[in-house]
């Protein structure tokens, strides 16, 4: 996909691999790969912003958290947990995830 040094914490890249579009994210030093295809309507999931989110609260209060752990799909803004591919509204809805390997300073995604 790229050199390990290119993907610093907080960064992400999207690459086409054999006709498949895949995004790799560095979340606090951990690497995760998601298919760049939103399970909602097939949008460019990995081209969306990496953000935090409003944590579950009660009684009309707000608490921002999980900075850098969420990707919002570029099309309709549905939020997904980068580490698992799970949609925050409906955890049964998941983006396809792939194992990531680092070898000799290069990042590989196993598809």
């Amino acid at each position: 996909m790229c050199a390990e040094s290119e993907l610093v914490p907080g960064a992400s890249i999207v690459r086409e691999v054999e006709g498949l579009s895949v995004g790799v994210f560095n979340v606090g030093g951990e690497l995760y790969a998601l298919r760049n295809h939103c399970p909602h309507r097939g949008g460019a999931l990995c081209r969306g912003p990496v953000t935090g989110t409003a944590l579950p609260t009660s009684d009309r209060s707000y608490l921002y958290g999980r900075e850098g752990e969420i990707v919002r799909c570029a099309w309709h803004g549905w939020e997904f947990e980068i580490a698992t591919g799970r949609c925050l509204v409906d955890p049964r809805l998941r983006a396809k995830t792939y194992p990531v390997e680092v070898d000799a300073g290069s990042i590989y995604v196993v598809v």
């Binding site: 909602h40 989110t53 409003a54 944590l55 579950p56 609260t57 009660s58 009684d59 009309r60 209060s61 707000y62 608490l63 309709h76 803004g77 549905w78 939020e79 949609c87 925050l88 509204v89 409906d90």
Partner: protein, 359 residues
């Protein structure tokens, strides 16, 4: 000296009759006339039914307003259809929501509720009452709910669908808090258009009565969205909200839209735990009248299946109004009849089976 402002007056609006053309004269003779010496204080909506909005066969022998005579109501409704219960919603009571003065509105609510109890509910075990409150006075409304809400003859709290803002707004929280405390559903009945309340249609006022009447369901949509979004049903998990006379076929489409938008922007309301449609299925109930009348009834039934109509709809006739639904002619799936025509209301209001039928 010139005086620019001197008020002269007719002794009665009828003095204008000879000066009106025949078409508009008719509206003044037979149409709905707000105000007058014996009228109930409320700011009237700007749309007046050109024929008066009553069934003309429901005028009692004494010439009083339809719905004012118990014996006729019993004959034309309770006995005619062998009703087990009739939930009384009053006539003009909910219009107090249009008044600017909240203290006056709540005073009228208390009077209307005491009148309901003394003049109607004590009369026939089939009659159950709605406890009308003034939504523009949330604290006064909560006090009234705690004063009479525990009375077994009152089965719901009642406000108008016309309001200054949607009912999920924190402004109204004391009302829902009190209703949850006494264990009564909160119902919003079509009405309260005018006065201090918001215009009921988003693009400005419609022109004609029938045009407006068909559009007034818009307020119901706003309340449903607001109550869900503000987390009312998270805060009061046993609360039920009933929309009366606001139509039903729009609800599936609204919930589809709410679900879709919530999924994209859940961060605006992180206190929600479920989809809007899931809150609606558990907490929102709708009365059927005036049930939409498509050419092909299956089109309506398919839409109502999407909101589990068998469990979320409550039959209502709207007697003695002009758009009365005859229970023998309402077109709903036959398999739903038992629930929609009785069981759902019995569950919602905790009514015992079969009050003694009179007649």
């Amino acid at each position: 000296m010139i005086d620019w402002d001197v008020h002269n007056s007719w002794s009665a609006a009828q003095e204008l009759l000879p000066y009106l053309d025949p078409y508009h004269r008719d509206a003044l003779v037979r149409g709905e006339l707000p105000g007058g010496r014996h009228s109930f204080p409320h700011a009237h909506r700007p749309w007046l039914h050109p024929e008066g909005f009553m069934r003309t066969d429901a005028v009692p022998e004494d010439g009083g307003p339809p719905g004012s005579d118990y014996d006729l109501l019993r004959e034309q409704l309770l006995d005619r259809y062998d009703l087990e219960y009739a939930i009384l919603t009053g006539e003009e009571g909910i219009e107090i929501s249009t008044l600017a003065n909240p203290s006056f509105a709540s005073a009228l609510a208390r009077a209307a509720n005491d009148w309901m109890l003394a003049e109607w509910l004590a009369r026939d075990p089939r009659l159950k009452g709605s406890l009308v409150v003034a939504p523009q006075d949330p604290v006064g409304a909560a006090t009234e709910i705690r004063r009479l809400g525990g009375h077994p003859e009152f089965v719901q709290v009642l406000v108008s669908s016309g309001a200054q803002r949607p009912y999920g707004d924190p402004f109204y929280q004391p009302i829902f808090e009190a209703a949850a405390e006494v264990g009564l559903p909160v119902a919003a009945h079509l009405g309260g258009q005018g006065g201090v309340n918001a215009n009921p249609t988003g693009c400005g006022p419609p022109t004609f009565f029938w045009e407006a009447h068909a559009l007034l369901s818009e307020t119901g949509m706003g309340h449903v969205a607001s109550l869900i979004a503000h987390g009312t049903f998270e805060r009061f998990p046993d609360l039920r909200f009933v929309l009366i006379e606001c139509g039903v076929a729009w609800l599936p489409a609204l919930l589809w839209r709410l679900d879709a938008d919530y999924k994209a922007l859940r961060k605006e309301t992180p206190w929600l735990r479920r989809l809007p449609s899931e809150y609606a299925a558990e907490h929102i109930r709708l009365t059927t009248q005036p049930l939409e009348q498509p050419k092909e009834e299956l089109h309506l039934w398919a839409a109502l299946e999407a909101i589990d109509g068998e469990r979320t709809l409550l039959f209502a006739s709207d007697y003695p109004h002009w758009d009365f639904d005859d229970p023998e002619r309402v077109r709903l799936p036959p398999a739903w009849r038992e629930r929609v025509f009785g069981e759902n209301a019995r569950e919602l209001y905790g009514l015992p089976v079969a009050a003694a039928t009179g007649g």
